[in-house]
Structures are given as C-alpha cells and as structure tokens.
Amino acid sequence: MSLLVVDRLCKSFGGVRAVDDVSFSLAPGELLAMIGPNGAGKTTCFNMINGQLAADSGRVLLHDADISRLPPREIWKRGVGRTFQIAATFASLTVVENVQMALISHAGRLYRMWSRAAAFEREKALALLAQVGMAEQADRPCGVLAYGDVKRVELAIALANEPKLLLMDEPTAGMAPKERNELMALTRKLVVERGIGVLFTEHSMDVVFGYADRLVVLARGKLIAQGDVDAIRNDPNVRAVYFGSGKTVERARA
C-alpha cells in the first residue's frame, strides 16, 4: 500500500504552469528524492502536499484519504512532519523548548493555561534531541545556533509527533559536506528504524544518489522521469534537462 499518492497535481501562477499534471507515489520506509533544475516546481509541489498552497486541480492522498483541501496544521495532525528550505524554528525558545512545543501540540495541550510548559515531557524532548545529536545544546536559545544545528533541531521537531511521512525541502542546503552526510545518514537510519516515508528535494547530487531509494525528476513543472538511481542516471530526458541536448551548440555552428 502506498503511504502518499500524488495524483495529477496542477498549479499555475498567472500564465506559468509551475506544477503541471504531476503524479507519483511513496511507500512506507522509502526515501524518495525529488530533483530538478531551479524553477522546476519542487517547492510548489511540496507546499501543495503540505497544505500551504491550494492546488488548482489534482489530489494528494495520505493513507488513501484525500488531504488536498486541509490546512497545514490538520495535515500535521495526520502524521506529516515538515522541514523547510529556510529552516523555521522558534528563535526565542530554547532548543529543548522547541521540541517540547511540538510535543505539547501533539498531546493536544496547547490551550492549557495553568500547568508549567517547561516540565512537559522534557525527557522525551531530550531523547529526540539526542537522536539528532543536539542534546548538549538543549538549553541554548534556538536563535543563536549555527545554521546546520538549526536544521537538526528542525528535524527533531518534525519527528516529535511520530510522523509517518517526512517532507524535507532541501534538508542539507547551507551545510558543509560532512554535515550533509551526517544528516542524511541519520535520516536514512530513521526511515529504516521507524518505517517513515521521506520525500525530499535536493540539489546536491552526491546526497541524492547516495541516499535516495528512488527519484522523481521535475522540469518546468512536468514530471519527466521516475525510477531508481541507475535508471535516472541513464535516462536521456534527465540528461537533456541537466546537461542540455547539445542541439543548441550544433545550431550555432551551422
């Protein structure tokens, strides 16, 4: 059974078809990379799956239930965690409080006004931080962390509601090569351990070919190829998009 099914998704901005008839699916425990040149429609696609943008047409199914008209917070409640291209955390809360915030929300205690939030499931939050290697920095304000660390905190937040699906928009952007590999190895481990499905976009081909089980390739809003790493590597369409077909050069010569 598929965890996530994206079915004929379309979105236009003015006259530009940012996402044009895109369909794919994702199984539990699978690491699916979405790649494509800049402007291919990756983030737009993400924002529609996550509920931030309303699709013009098409559906998004999570466990066979249509989630395409739900706001982000409802989608999160159904077990979808998200990290952003530009990391978004709560800068004035400490690192551990950031994770506790997600735990509080998950437990449905957002409107409690009397109990102390700092005591709420702190151990569990610390355990989540330990998983991403951020336990030592638990009591620092999130606003002063190095960017790579913020991204790891974001991952811990995203894991707090025991998600079935993780959406990671450029999880390693702005990180050093060593950090990238650590983060992706960690993600890989989580996928295997917990059977989470991960959909991520990425520009670094090392990361993509090193960690993805399968790839979908977007170009100009259309899905031009999907398959495993080898299939994509040898796909003529993908080569044309990334390296050009060589025709322009020939024409110039003629």
């Binding site: 706001p71 978004a88 955390t89 004035s92 809360l93 409080e97 915030m101 957002l110 409690r112 006004m113």
Partner: protein
C-alpha cells in the same frame, strides 16, 4: 431631505476629499518608501494651517494669499526634511513599534510648540481673495472656494503622478517602494531619496493644512483629528498607493457627507436616528470592513518582506532568587504603605493610579511582547471595562462588587469581538485596525448621549460603603493588581504561553506543528482584554466617574510608553515602566506647563538611547542579558 440638499452635501464632500487626499497622499508616499508610519503627519498638517495663518496676516491680495499657501507648504516641507535628518534616519532599522512611538512623540512636542507660539485660541483664517463669494447650485448657495478645492485635489494627484512616472527621481521612489534594500544595493543615495520623499510628503500635508484654513480655523486639536482621518484613508486605499489614497479620500469624505445630509430620521417603531452622529463611527467602520475583506486596502499590495528584523528575544526564565526577593519586599512595603504614610495621604491616591496603570500595562504587554501583536487601541478594553462597571451600577442597579466583576467581562467581550478581526492581520495593519476599534469605542461612547452620557460621561460611580475608605480601596486595587500580574505570568509559563510566543517567532513553523495561530492569538487577546477591563473597572470606581476623555487614543499610547519604558522583553518591564511613567507624569504635569512636550522628549530619548527599556538596560548592564553572546 431634498435631492438638491444631498447633492450639495456631496459636492461639499468632494471639497473635503481634496484636503484629505493631500494629507493622506503624503503619508502614503512616506510609508511606501521609508516603511515608517508617520504619526506626526497630522502635526505637519496642523503646522501648515498655523503657518498659513501667520503668512496670510502679512501677505494680502490674491497673489499674496496663494503665495502664502505655497510658502506654507515649502516651510512644512523643510520642517519635514529636518525631522527626517535629525530623527527618523536613526530609527529606520528599529522595530516598527519604536518608529510609531517616535513619531507619536513628535506630535506631543509639536502640539506644545504650537501652543507656545500661537497660543490656545482658535485662529480664523481669511477667505481666499476673489473666491470669497458663493455660486448658486440647484437653488442652494455653494462657496466658490470649495469649488476651487474640488479642482486642486485631482490637479495635485496629476502632478505627483507625473513626478513619479516621468522623472528619474520618481522611478527611484517607485523602485524603493517595491524593494528599498535592492535600491540601496544598486548604489542609489538612499539618504537623499528618503529625505526628499519625506520633505515632499510633509509639504503635501502642509499644503493640505494651509488650504483648509479658509474652511476651518487653525486649532491645537487639528493634529489628532487629521491623523485619524489620514490613517483611515491610507489604510482603506492601500499603504503606498497614490490612486488608492485618492479613491479612499473620496469614499470617506462622501460617506461622511452622506451621514450629514441624511440628518435625523424618526424610526417607525418610535425614537429617532441621527445620522450626523455616525460620522466618526462610519469612517472607522469602513476601515474595519475594508481591512477584513481586503487586508491590504483597496489598491494596496501585500507588504514586502522586511529583511531587517530585530534580533530574537532571549528565552523567558522563571524568576531567580534575587527577583523573587525584590518582588516580595516590594509587596511587603506596599502592604505596609497605608500604615506608614497615614490613611489620608496623597501617596495612596497615586499608588492606586499606579496599580491600575500596572494592570493596564501588563495586559498590553501580554499581547505586545510575547504575542508580538502591537495594539494601538488598548484603551478600548479599558474603556469597555470602565463603562460596563459604571453603567451596570448606575443604570442596571447592580451592586458595586458585581459591577466590578462585570468589568472583566466587558473587556473580554470587546476583545472577543474586535480580536476576531484583528488577528487576521499583522504588523502595521494590525496596529491600524486596533487603533480603529479603539476610536470606534471612543466615538460611540462620545456620541451616544442617551446611554453613555456623551462627553459628560457617567458620574457617581462610587465603590460600596465597605470599600469606600481610601486605604480599603488601596488594598482592593493592590490585590487585583497582584492577582492580574501573577495570572498573566503563570499563563506565560504555561503551554498556552509557549504557544503564544511560538506564533510570534514563526507562523510558518507553528502552522507546521499543528498550532492554530489565529486562535491562539485571539484567545491571548481576550485574556488581555479581560485583565485590561478589570483595570478600567478599578479606575472608574477610584475616580467616581468615567468620561470619553479617559479612554481616548492618548491612553492607548500611554500604555505603549509604559511598556516600552520598562522594556518589552521582560515580564517585570511593564510593571516598572507603568510605575515610573505614572510617577513622572504626576510630578512633571503638576510643575511644568509644557509637560506633553517633556513626555514627547522623554519618549524620543527612550527610543534613541534605551531601546530595551529600563529593565532591559539594567539587565544588560548587569550582564544578565548576555546569554546570547
């Protein structure tokens, strides 16, 4: 009401729309480029009127009159340039709250300067030579001068529009309106551009004020009236949009004219309805409706992302031992105060005012600091609480104790209704809408004589006999104040309080972890409204009366000053700020004639020198705030 009467009123509305447009277009231009909402714009308008009065005293004849109009505009433009260079240039990177306060402080300084130079008498201007007569339209007389105004408005719109579309300077202004960082990155001299835009905006306001002189006398109350109108026009039209300002000026002026034209009607079920009384409410209602339906105004665009945010606040920590000791010691001293100073002492009266002020300030701080919602109309909930108590006691005959409890409900109910609209907006637009609701409450109270007593207010609002003695009431106020402060503090450390700060830090992330941002903000708004309502109720019973004056925009601003004076980042900030502010006001206002100007200067010093407030500055000095570095 005859058709011709309505038509003439509509023409009158067109004339008003012209000066309104001149005023608002300047505000809009300035906001578009500098992203500063210039509270002092009404003051510039007022200065235009006063300067024009002085000039027309000396210059006679048609030529002299129109030259005086032009010179007034130039003079105000020069004043605007000076303001920009001396003050605003230092605060472009400050949080927008500080910018609003700094420009508001200017209004205080300018108002006292005007009173000092021109005195407090209303000054009636001359009629325009050659246009002093009237023409007959549909059998009614219509002033020639108003006809001239109807032409001048669109003419100025056309001129400014040409300036923006056809000149290099105009292209830079339009570019800066879209993305000022980019314009700066391209090597444009931003200082010069900002100064010139501010000067032009000020000159337009000055011209508007000058041209209004033959229609209404120059008076020291002109500034707040003008800025209220200008805000409404700019927000309705869309911040930064010139045609928007024009359309909105027409809309607002015509709706007001229509209210006046409709006059008083008798209702079929008895009683009368008097439309001229709705002029104030009508314009703010239009604004509230437009903001909710089109949050960026009729012709505006969504605000561009601001790239120069303030650094994030440090996380809240529970009170440490020192703070606790100071807190308990203060509380002990306050409990003993009536025994020390004696029961009839003025210190008790001042202390009660301070307790009420603290309650007011902490409730404002709750939404402003941790909530990140800059309310410019917090006086509304204070007023609703005060009037709920007063009216229930006087008209419904409720016992005083119950009436005081109902003040909490009054404030909460107001926040419940207004908050629903407000949390849909953010930033400057949130500030504007809260201000509008504050003004709606004020104008309803002011104009609804039958129920609220109009400008006289409600009198004879005294506490129950067992609370009537000053020292007993002192303990009541102290108890309410402490309870309110501790309650809000407790909430801030609760899951809800964390969620509130989360929504302020990142809406995107909050939404992505299942937090309903608007609902959290709405509930916070209601909680603050309830505590603020209690402050209002306590106030009414401590003074024995309540009047519209005590719930005007001035009180909202006082609240902001209290919070900023203490420092917005700390929980003790608003408490220290309110106490310091009220003590200063009490001691300054009694001894200095121009205390408003003093207050204005105080705010300016505060904004420029101590952007973290008293408590923030002390903390930094002690190194407590240096966790971050």
């Amino acid at each position: 009401m005859s058709l011709s009467g309505i038509l003439v009123q509509m023409l009158n509305g067109l004339a008003s729309a012209s000066t309104l447009f001149l005023l608002a277009s300047g505000l809009s231009l300035i906001f578009g480029v500098t992203r500063i909402v210039n509270f002092a714009h009404g003051s510039l308008f007022m200065l235009g009127a006063y300067i024009a009065w002085s000039l027309t005293e000396r210059m006679s004849g048609a030529l002299g009159f129109w030259a005086a109009m032009g010179l007034s505009a130039l003079a105000v433009g020069a004043i605007g340039a000076a303001i920009e260079m001396l003050l605003l240039r230092r605060i472009y990177r400050a949080p927008e709250l500080f910018q609003l306060l700094a420009t508001f402080a200017l209004t205080l300084v300018v108002r006292d300067a005007v009173l000092g130079v021109w005195g407090s008498e209303d000054l009636l201007g001359p009629r325009a030579p050659g246009l002093s007569g009237s023409v007959e339209i549909l059998g009614r007389r219509f002033p020639q001068y108003d006809l001239a105004l109807i032409v001048i408005g669109p003419l100025v719109l056309a001129l400014v529009w040409l300036l923006l579309r056809r000149t290099r300077w105009g292209a830079l202004v339009r570019a800066a309106t879209q993305d000022r960082e980019m314009v700066g990155a391209l090597g444009v001299n931003q200082s010069l551009l900002f100064t010139s835009v501010f000067a032009l905006g000020a000159a337009l306001a000055g011209l508007g004020g000058a041209l209004q002189l033959p229609r209404e006398p120059a008076s020291a109350g002109l500034d707040l009236a003008a800025i209220g109108d200008a805000f409404v026009v700019v927000v309705v039209g869309g911040m930064g949009s010139l045609p928007g300002a024009f359309v909105a000026a027409l809309l607002i002026a015509e709706i007001k004219a229509l209210c006046i034209a409709l006059g008083t009607w008798s209702l079929p079920w008895g009683g009368t309805i008097s439309f001229p009384k709705f002029t104030l409410v009508a314009e703010f209602l239009v604004m509230a409706i437009v903001l909710v339906v089109r949050p960026w105004g009729l012709m505006g665009k969504p605000q561009a992302a601001v790239r120069t945010g303030a650094p994030p606040e440090t996380p809240l920590a529970p009170a440490d031992a020192t703070t606790r000791i100071i807190g308990f010691a203060t509380l002990g001293a306050l409990a003993a105060l009536p025994l020390i100073v004696g029961v009839g002492s003025y210190a008790l009266v001042l202390s009660i005012d301070i307790f009420i002020g603290v309650l007011f300030a902490v409730s404002l701080h709750f939404v402003m600091g941790p909530g990140g919602m800059h309310s410019f109309g917090h006086a509304a909930y204070f007023g609703l609480g005060a009037y709920a108590s007063g009216l229930l006691l006087k008209s419904a005959g409720l016992p005083m104790e119950l009436a005081l409890v109902m003040s909490i409900l009054g404030g909460a109910l107001g926040a419940f209704v207004f908050g629903w609209f407000c949390v849909r907006l953010s930033g400057v637009y949130f500030a504007m809408l809260t201000l509008a609701f504050g003004q709606i409450v004020w104008s309803v109270v002011f104009q609804w004589d039958e129920v609220t007593g109009g400008s006289n207010g409600v009198i004879g609002v005294w506490p129950a006999p067992w609370l009537a003695a000053k020292q007993t009431y002192y303990y009541l106020a102290l108890a309410c104040c402490v309870a309110g402060v501790l309650l809000l503090r407790r909430i801030l450390f609760s899951p809800f309080g964390y969620a509130l700060r989360a929504t302020r830090d990142s809406v995107l992330r909050s939404d992505a972890i299942g937090i309903d941002v608007q609902r959290i903000q709405w509930i916070a708004f209601i909680v603050a409204g309830a505590v603020c309502g209690l402050a209002g109720g306590l106030f009414a019973f401590s003074k024995g009366s309540i009047s519209p004056e005590t719930i005007s925009v001035g009180r909202s601003i006082d609240g902001l000053v209290m919070v900023l004076l203490g420092g917005v980042e700390t929980l003790s900030g608003p408490i220290v700020g309110a106490a310091a502010f009220l003590f200063l006001q009490d001691s300054i206002a009694r001894h200095i004639e121009y205390w408003r100007a003093m207050l204005g200067l105080l705010i300016l010093v505060l904004v420029l020198a101590f952007p973290d407030g008293i408590v923030g500055a002390v903390r930094k000095r002690l190194g407590k705030g240096s966790q971050q570095t």
